[in-house]
Symmetry: C2
Subunit: 309 residues, 2 copies
């Protein structure tokens, strides 16, 4: 199975509201809820692609119960979340039906006690023993040490399980130094980590810091990937318009799926770009349409560039 | 016991956010949750005053479970809520810590099925048999007939239980026609019901429509009350500054508490105004400080006016 880790799981709530005015009172016309946090999103896409997935991380409180109830209804996803005392955070996306714009309110998440973090590490090591790959995704909840991902990368490498890291800020910086197999920063995370706004230079710099393969997601321009074997760019056939929520998580699912199927890098990147574009085009945020994905997968252009490394 | 009815209970969530910007992403710095809906607020204040209270209405889903869990921890409040299929709504108050202003997002509430409405009416009639007074509070959830409060007023009157109605719009208009003992509109509800912006005229008009006593809450000016025995104005000693959330519910609790203790009207009004002001002054929305309440109660000025009726 493929393991995904979401230390800061969420109950993602979407409100539809006509005309959001600060200091006004608004009647919400439509409410939707789903389990969230990057690793859960990655898991859902992997399961839709036919992979066996186990999700772990922390969950607690009434919101955590709702997340688990919903996961129980998701075929192909096994729930190995570790219960904690504090409540799983909510994220609220307020979609203004007049303009289509979204205002986001994110709760911070539960404070994780040292004993809870230890319990997680034990569960993680146990789960790795039957994993073909692992993805470490998203932000850290309060109480988890900033070097958490570095530690989880080292544990995966010690057990020879390929590990992908998708986070930002200091947890990313420390995680990269622990030499993960793949990191997938977006343009902003790349610039924050390296200080360079040139994706080529920045990607190179992240490799020097320890990542074996760097896959940079550059929005509408697609992916730029580099490792010891080469450098590639993969872009969707047309500029896609829609909701980018979850597009990065779909790309991560594409990369992992290609990894466990041992596809060559250009095919992994084509899959990641097609899944990402199909997610942007889907009417529901974070979902993807299978037919759209398959049609796009055949059309993604992957070009190989001379690597200067 | 005193019975309060909240057909559209809520989980009231307060977020503290620094600088709310439409279309921005916000980290919530503090999250608080409490059971909400006007009747539950009234019940909490009554219990704090030492009364035995039973709360009824509808509750469902994960949010409904949280509401019931919290109520179970509230001394003096007995939970007689009727379970329904749909989830209890959330209300979200986003407090901007930079300006102190609040932006409100209110979910619509569950759709109540005809069988659920029937089950409620049976429970209500049963509970009335041991009630010394009943308050019918707040909006109707989808699916409940617009004449619901009129029906509940008639049931209470048939069983000789004094009934107070605190709602708005068409449910208020129909409810008033069923001749409740007390209605407590605010200035806006009064104007909407009668078409008059003159509180004296409007109060008179509501009595003609069927209410025995009308207690109009006029914000900082306090209360204006009128019935067959007289007309009174009750105002706090000073203009109070703070958060008006729940001030109206505290006034309702004061009126009910005075009713079951058989206090003369001026004392009931003094209690209602003092509770309301103590709620505005409290640091936590909807709570009140007992010492502040007792100090204010002695200072509320109640004046009797010649009633033209």
């Amino acid at each position: 199975m493929i393991l995904t880790v979401t230390l800061n799981t969420a109950l993602d709530i979407t409100y539809r509201v006509r005309g959001l005015r600060p200091h006004g009172t608004h009647r919400v016309s439509e409410v939707t809820e789903r389990p969230g946090g990057k690793g859960l999103n990655v898991g859902r896409v992997l399961a839709a692609l036919g992979h066996e997935v186990t999700v772990t991380g922390f969950t607690g409180g009434a919101t955590g119960r709702t997340v688990r109830d919903r996961l129980a209804g998701t075929p192909g996803v096994a729930d190995a979340l570790v219960p904690v005392e504090g409540p799983t955070r909510r994220t609220i996306a307020v979609v203004d039906t007049a303009t289509g714009d979204t205002t986001q309110l994110n709760e911070p998440g539960p404070v994780i006690a040292p004993a809870e973090w230890s319990a997680f590490q034990e569960r993680y090591e146990h789960l790795l023993r039957s994993a073909s790959a692992v993805a470490l995704c998203g932000s850290l909840p309060p109480g988890v040490p900033v070097g958490a991902y570095a530690q989880l990368v080292r544990t995966a490498r010690a057990l020879a399980v390929p590990v992908l890291l998708d986070t930002s800020g200091e947890p990313l910086r420390r995680g990269v130094a622990a030499r993960p197999d793949i990191v997938k920063p977006n343009a902003e995370e790349l610039a924050e980590l390296t200080g360079s706004h040139d994706p080529l230079q920045a990607t190179r710099s992240v490799r020097r810091r320890g990542a074996h393969t760097v896959v940079a997601s550059l929005g509408a321009e697609g992916l730029l990937a580099e490792n010891a074997a080469g450098r590639w760019r993969a872009a969707p056939p047309n500029r896609v318009h829609g909701n980018p929520t979850g597009a990065g998580d779909s790309a991560v699912a594409g990369l992992l799926s290609g990894l466990v199927e041992d596809l060559p890098w250009p095919e992994r990147l084509a899959r990641a770009v097609a899944l990402s574009a199909a997610t942007v085009l889907a009417p529901t945020a974070g979902e993807f349409d299978r037919a759209t994905y398959e049609a796009l997968a055949a059309q993604v252009a992957v070009t190989s560039e001379a690597s200067a490394a």
